[in-house]
Symmetry: C2
Subunit: 192 residues, 2 copies
DNA sequence: CGGATCGTTGATCAACTTCAACGGTCGTGG
DNA sequence: CCACGACCGTTGAAGTTGATCAACGATCCG
């Protein structure tokens, strides 16, 4: 159950055997069915979640009812509305499962206790957040700098796993396009 | 010279008197003239920079030569191409001064030494990066979810300081619009 | 004073969206 | 286990938003 999480942490920092036991004690395991919500707009995001198995999405619904994908997370990724989790304010976002999933969840009090009792985790999360900033920055640049077709081509080039695993209408939303536009782009790229 | 930086750190974590002296020793002060580059595309981002005074911008130039604003930074903000700084790879971005500026700069070896010798700074940067993720996420949502006019209205509502201080053509680029489009939007909003 | 830069305005154009319809597939309940 | 409905990807036609190109006045700075 903790295999993926422990591997992910030990890639970045060192944990002793005692640390591992302590670490595990902070988490709650949870299974999620496809289409099941783990966070809904208007609720507080009570958990920071690590995906051991399966696939989640976080998305925002705008004034007109359209969904906009913020993030996907599968094996080895963290997921949460960071702002809501840390501040305790209600969330503007929804998180649900695209595929059946197994999660390891940690509450804010436990997260803070973990950082105090395992200072090496401060480092782990600092590095994790660093990497997150880098990828968010890249996504932003792609979003504002390029045409629909170029955005899609860049996604295929940099994240082919996403194209494999995630339904096309969600990819469209992730890129800020309509499903129709993405369908047409794919058709055009097939032909050439 | 270190006033703004120390205040910013002590808002988030506690520093002893000895810590403060040690901390200062890691930084290099630097003054920058308006329009002066501190990072150019193709160079490595050698420094993580804290703005004590003045105003910087980071931007990307796309294949067609158009500039896209990634970030602004004034008093109390950090600036760097995080990826290039941490990895040592060359940067795709440019950083220059919009207003004369005074910076405190730290190299990667000094950054790493600082984190080891002042573990409390792991916490500071973890919190800093957390907040950065939250704001990048919001910007991304605004960028993909809303029309040009709504994007501008939201920027005015959430970051009026930016509107005050930053030239209009750079605001347009930050929002992913042309200067002409932003000019027309402002005209329309004045009339209503 | 003169050149460069910036914001503005107008006219045209292209990219992407919207609306509508259709066929295929998947999953669920009878 | 089959049938039906829901959902998804596709295609077409029309509409809209924002980009592009061009020109002009104002301001700033050297």
């Amino acid at each position: 159950m903790f295999n993926v999480l422990l591997a992910h942490i030990q890639e970045k920092v060192n944990l002793s055997v005692g640390d591992v036991d302590l670490l595990k004690s902070f988490f709650i395991p949870k299974k999620l069915r496809k289409r099941q919500y783990i966070l809904q707009e208007g609720d507080v995001c009570k958990y920071l979640m690590f995906v051991e198995k399966g696939l989640l999405r976080m998305y925002h619904v705008d004034d007109k009812g359209a969904e906009h994908m913020i993030q996907f997370a599968w094996e080895g990724w963290w997921m949460a509305d960071t702002y809501s989790f840390l501040s305790g304010d209600i969330s503007q976002y929804n998180i649900d499962a695209i595929e059946d999933a197994e999660l390891l969840m940690i509450t804010l009090p436990n997260f803070e206790a973990m950082l105090l009792q395992l200072p090496v985790m401060e480092r782990y999360f600092r590095i994790l957040f660093q990497n997150n900033i880098i990828s968010k920055e890249r996504r932003l640049i792609n979003t504002i700098s390029y045409s629909a077709e170029e955005k899609y081509k860049r996604l295929v080039a940099t994240h082919p796993e996403m194209i494999q695993r995630i339904p096309q209408n969600l990819i469209a939303s992730y890129l800020g396009l309509t499903p129709e536009t993405l369908s047409r782009i794919r058709k055009k790229l097939m032909q050439s």
